[in-house]
């Protein structure tokens, strides 16, 4: 005997932890979060081995990094608005939201370029220089990745192609990833800009 469990009435997609892709993204966040944590541990380890810190360099200038903290935290608002639009499946709001987020991201990348100049140390000057460049570089890689992702999604929703509803899930998850980029910047900012001033 065989009797079917009819699933044809189920929806084709769902949001948040229901979605297969959400788990994939959480896996990436776990990996990348571990990389950030270990890079910060490396910073503390090198500090613990040093007689003076930040070795022979001066601390980084505060202006551009602090501006980026403010902008990143401010970007939570359009990000959440876009994420909500994705979850409501409202494609007009999705288009607006993605473009606003994209503009934020591009400005932040430009400021990030200034941040590298404000570190007051080169990666090949000493171990302190190496670790702050890697911390800033790692975060920049994530910033750039999310800006690129947002750009691809914006292009998709502006392309006029027929789209499945599961693309709205992509918008929602892009928002979650943006939160990750924002929230990891706060401790990395504190490490890069403030720890050298404590000593």
């Amino acid at each position: 005997v065989s009797r079917g469990l009819d699933v044809s009435g189920l929806p084709s997609y769902k949001y948040s932890h229901h979605a297969l892709t959400w788990w994939g993204m959480m896996g990436m966040i776990a990996i990348e979060g571990t990389v950030f944590a270990l890079a910060i541990v490396t910073y503390f380890y090198l500090w613990s081995q040093a007689d003076s810190w930040p070795l022979s360099a001066g601390p980084p200038d505060l202006l551009w990094g602090t501006l980026n903290v403010v902008l990143l935290l401010a970007s939570i608002w359009p990000n959440q608005w876009t994420k909500r639009a994705g979850e409501d499946g409202d494609e007009r709001r999705i288009r607006i939201g993605l473009l606003v987020c994209l503009a934020f991201g591009i400005v932040m990348l430009a400021i990030r370029a200034m941040e590298f100049n404000a570190l007051n140390v080169r990666w090949d000057s000493n171990a302190y220089g190496s670790v702050v460049w890697v911390l800033l570089g790692l975060h920049t890689l994530h910033l750039a990745t999310d800006v690129f992702d947002t750009g691809v999604l914006a292009a998709l929703f502006l392309s006029g192609k027929p789209l499945e509803g599961k693309r709205h899930v992509d918008v929602s998850e892009n928002g979650v990833y943006w939160y990750f980029v924002v929230y990891t910047w706060v401790p990395i900012y504190a490490v890069i800009y403030w720890l050298p001033r404590l000593t």
Binding site: V1, S2, R3, G4, L5, D6, V7, S8, G9, L10, P11, S12, Y13, K14, Y15, H17, H18, A19, L20, W23, G24, G27, M28, A30, I31, E32, T34, V35, L38, A39, T42, Y45, L46, Q49, A50, L55, G89, W123, D124, S125, N126, A127, Y128, G129, S130, V131, W133, V134, F148, V152, L156, K161, P162, L163, E164, G165, K166, R167
Partner: protein, 508 residues
Amino acid sequence: MLFAAFILDIGPDAGWFSYVPLAGPGFAPGKRVDFWAQMITFTELAGLLVAIEIIATAFKMRAPGMTLARMPLLVWAMVVTSFMILFAMPAVMLASSALIMDRLVGTHFYNPAEGGDPVLWQHLFWFFAHPEVYFIFIPALGFMSSIIATFSRRPIFGYPAMVLALIATGFLGFGLWVHHMFAAHLPELGKSFFTAASMLIAVPSAIQIFCWIATLWTGRLEFRTPLLFTLAFFVILVIGGLTGLMVASVPLDLQLHDTYFVVAHLHYVLIGGAVFPLFGAWYYWFPKITGRIMGERLGRWQFWLFFVGFNVAFWPMHHLGVQGMPRRVYTYPEEMGWGALNLVSTLGALMIAVSVLLFIINVVLTLRSGEKAAANPWRAGTLEWATASPPPAYNFDRAPVVRGRDPLWHEEPVPPSEPTHVSGLADKPREVLITTVVDALPDHRLVFPEPTIWPFVSAVAVSALFIGSIFTPWAALWGMLPVAIAVTLWFWPRDPEVLEALQVEKRP
């Protein structure tokens, strides 16, 4: 790439753990260690992505009714391993990236002259490399549980304890890395902590071993080749575990560090803990994968040669280590008196070689003219044995509904009101059923994309990035462009598929 480099004699030459400063720019000029660093990072990246796939698949794509409490122990083992990978492999990626930056762009992570520290390498490396032992070992525990249940003809004893022990091993595996560094200069309190953690890991391993013994004790054993390999695990791993307790203690470890005792210990653990179960798993799942059963007589010969040969090869090394023979030497003065035991070891190694040769012959003969396998040749209880051997690409015509831990061993009929399989999924577009994480209730019907060339192109682009960056750091930058293009085209929806999917789409 690594093997190509070895054949061309441009392969890495700083040991498998590539310790700095030996592997740093000062002592290892040329490209040898760069090959190592980039290929390690590449491999880890691949391993990390597979770990995510395994977790997402195990959590979201189980057959309806297969709650977490009914998930086969092999799947639990793979999930625990994958979680360990997520948190351990990033350490070696960071370490090897810092190494290649030290070598190619002049950073100073490991250079003590400019504030770096070689012991940083050891910490990052072992934070990965001790859990790495468990990436090898924990899947083998899953093989063990599958094979023991089937050939004892009863469900595994103490399933909840087994699952909790696997998870505990996953956590404790992270508390051990410093025990590879007892001979380095470290704080004494730290060493004591890591000694305690190294002892503690014996507890979940013992729980699993006792549950297996209980299963075997109360079962009706069928001594087929897979079970023989599994039983050897008990003998060999227990010996390796006991010598592990010995070297977990700092004073004794300082005596035995870098001697043949450690070589014996790690082979008893890794070959007993991983290779014996792996051979068992090969014999066990070979009929499912290929549709033919491995020859039993050759299998037994292979097993006994391997078991005896292994002990002849590695047991004498315990004695050699206590007598003071150091590791990683290719020769020694005759008057040390280590000759006889080393000769015995070599004879054992030859027996292992013959055994592996028999294994290869067995595989070839089986593939050419082996006995055809039915769907369930071992009369096992888990779901993979419900489909044909070898299974079709889609695994099941219709996904089954699961009602217990060993669905094929249920004797009572399904009540007339309850379903036996999933229905109502479209074949075109390719719909799959996504279930909830804990209870495996039907959740939604996801449309999977049709196959395209872009995953392959993405893989080629990522390979080009890593291979290029062995030679120039700029490749890490420009190499990202083809990767970004390829993964975007992979993601980009194709209109005919989308229109087809919209036909069956239901919004939540």
